[in-house]
Amino acid sequence: MNTTNPVLELKNVNKSFGPIDVLHDISLKVHAGEVLCLLGDNGAGKSTLIKTLAGVHKPTSGQMLMDGEEVSFDCPKDAASRGISTVHQFGGTFPLMTIGRSFFVGVEPTKKFGPFTIFDRKTANETAVKAVKEFGITRIDDGDRLIGGLSGGERQSLAIARAVHFGARVLILDEPTAALGVKEATHVLRIVFEARKRGLAVIFITHQVMHAMTVGDHFAVLIRGALAADFRKGEKTREEITDLMAGGEAMADLEGEIESYMSAHEGHPPPPAH
């Protein structure tokens, strides 16, 4: 078990939207230089959990701590300024902008041009291209290309490189490999490794058990908003994880257990099994 202070820690976090309880009593630790794989069926609450971490939602109750100190985010910008960075499934959100321009949206490098302050396109392009190159993606060499013209894997890679460049400490990846082919996915996984090597804490959401097994150090399974399992690499076999993820027999059993537990405990889910 990792003994260092976790970068990010959740303590008994609940989240409900009006009468709908989506997250129940989640306690989780995320360490630097580790990849946490967040697994679970559709609707389990994975997106809600990471949106809570990213400052989109506020927990209804419970605590969030960074480096052992309690934090509260009013908006995604707050979380971002603390170093929590989310990369969405399709990478860049500005497909019609150039690589250099989208890399620096909101923090554009400028230079003097006579009495004017202008956007420094050259620096922007060079920095962006260099940042992805450092992650081993050499096919991106022209910062003037449109984001939309890149492949899915390249976009993900660029988005991750961007987060790292701007000092992210916790990198949240929401199904980064779901829409990718095998080769593209491999690229992204390599970049996840690279980010981990640089000491980032990575939260990786995926449905593909192979991808989870490849990069994960630590696994958390959500079922109906509750943490149904929380284990480390090597503690479960691939089959067991597949069962958990794919809703096989083990999953059905677990859900049955939870249901009976919940009906017996006034709708409260069971504590996570370690």
């Binding site: 908006c75 995604p76 910008k77 971002a80 959100t93 500005f94 497909p95 019609l96 902008m97 321009r101 989208s102 620096f104 949206v105 909101g106 923090v107 554009e108 400028t110 041009f113 004017f116 302050t117 202008i118 956007f119 449109l146 939309g148 013209g149 890149l150 492949s151 899915g152 976009r155």
Partner: protein, 343 residues
């Protein structure tokens, strides 16, 4: 090297409008029997382009940022009536009339902008509301204050020299304003960080806001800009023609949107260019005014505009698709380029 330049040009937002501009002129010369020298020197289409262009530029910027402003249709007569009522009917100094017209533009722009960012009502509906409301305000104010729907104005020479003069007998001074404003917009949009903000906002407003861009403030600014520009064009017209009417201006809505779309701005926002809008406006003016120089019946110009608009929308859309679906196989990309070039 040459093909690389060509393929780079074709993927630029202004490519379509530059090509359609050239195509329309060629069409008129070849099939319309136009004498190019007569045509180039004619003031009518340049005047139309300039008046339209001053409004089309900020309307295009709004569209790039993902919004629409149709209240410009009322702001053009509002601008001309303001200056005419203040400085014509009430005989206040012309500067009061000019500032009054511009201030009204700022005020209506603020209303449009604030309503758009504070409510979730689409800006098309918000500005439809202010369009109709301002039409009512202008008509009632004019009738109440002057008892007339048309007001005379005799502006002093210096103000005519700046806002409403004919240079060389038939060229309106607003042409210089248009060219100057195009240069200013070009610089701001493509060379400063604010341009980047507008494109980011049109691409994805939430992400732009999360990246620290003051999206609400920027949106309000853009509405103020378009409303004030429309008021400015109306004001220049009143100073030039020595009178202002309550009616008119509605066709600017349609004409500006056509110019902007032909200029390669995506209806859904996030993509476009100042040069594109400039050439889109020129193309529109050439088609509607240039037709008088041809043997072609002028009623056909509407057909040409309609076809041009549809081709532009389809082209813009296929370009967007190409950009969104990522790296394309070579063949398909080539096909796309040739259809763009053919259009």
């Amino acid at each position: 090297m040459k093909t690389q330049f060509l393929s780079k040009f074709v993927t630029r937002p202004e490519a379509g409008s530059v090509m359609s501009f050239v195509a329309v002129i060629l069409f008129f010369v070849i099939f319309g029997g136009v004498q190019l020298s007569n045509f180039i020197g004619a003031a009518s289409w340049v005047n139309l382009a300039a008046n339209l262009g001053v409004v089309a530029l900020p309307v295009g910027l709004l569209m790039i940022s993902g919004e629409l402003d149709i209240s410009i249709g009322a702001m053009i007569p509002a601008g001309s009536m303001s200056v005419a009522i203040l400085s014509g009917y009430y005989e206040l100094p012309i500067i009061v009339g000019i500032l009054g017209a511009l201030a009204l533009g700022v005020a209506v722009g603020l209303v449009n902008g604030l309503l758009t960012v504070r409510t979730s009502v689409p800006s098309l509906i918000v500005t439809l509301g202010t369009l109709v409301a301002m039409q009512g305000v202008i008509l009632s104010a004019s009738v109440l204050l002057t008892g007339n729907a048309s007001v005379a104005l005799s502006a002093p020479e210096w103000s005519k020299a700046i806002f409403g003069n004919l240079v060389g007998g038939s060229y309106q001074i607003i042409i210089l304003w248009w060219i100057g404003l195009t240069a200013v917009y070009f610089f701001i949009v493509h060379y400063t960080r604010y341009g980047n903000w507008i494109f980011a906002m049109g691409g994805d407003r939430d992400s732009a806001r999360n990246a620290g861009i003051p999206t609400d403030r920027l949106t309000i600014w853009l509405f103020v800009l378009s409303s004030t520009s429309a008021s400015f064009v109306g004001m220049c017209g009143a100073i030039l023609f020595n009178s202002a009417q309550v009616s008119g201006g509605m066709n600017y809505i349609f004409n500006a949107v056509v110019s902007v779309v032909v200029g390669g701005v995506l209806l859904t926002g996030g993509f476009g260019s100042i040069i594109g809008i400039f050439f889109g406006t020129l193309t529109f003016a050439v088609v509607t005014q240039g037709i008088y120089f041809t043997d072609i019946d002028r009623n056909w110009s509407s057909l040409i505009i309609g076809v041009m608009l549809l081709v532009a929308v389809v082209m813009n859309n296929s370009f967007r698709k190409m950009a969104l679906t990522g790296s394309k196989p070579k063949k398909e990309k080539q096909k796309l380029n040739t259809t763009r070039a053919a259009a």
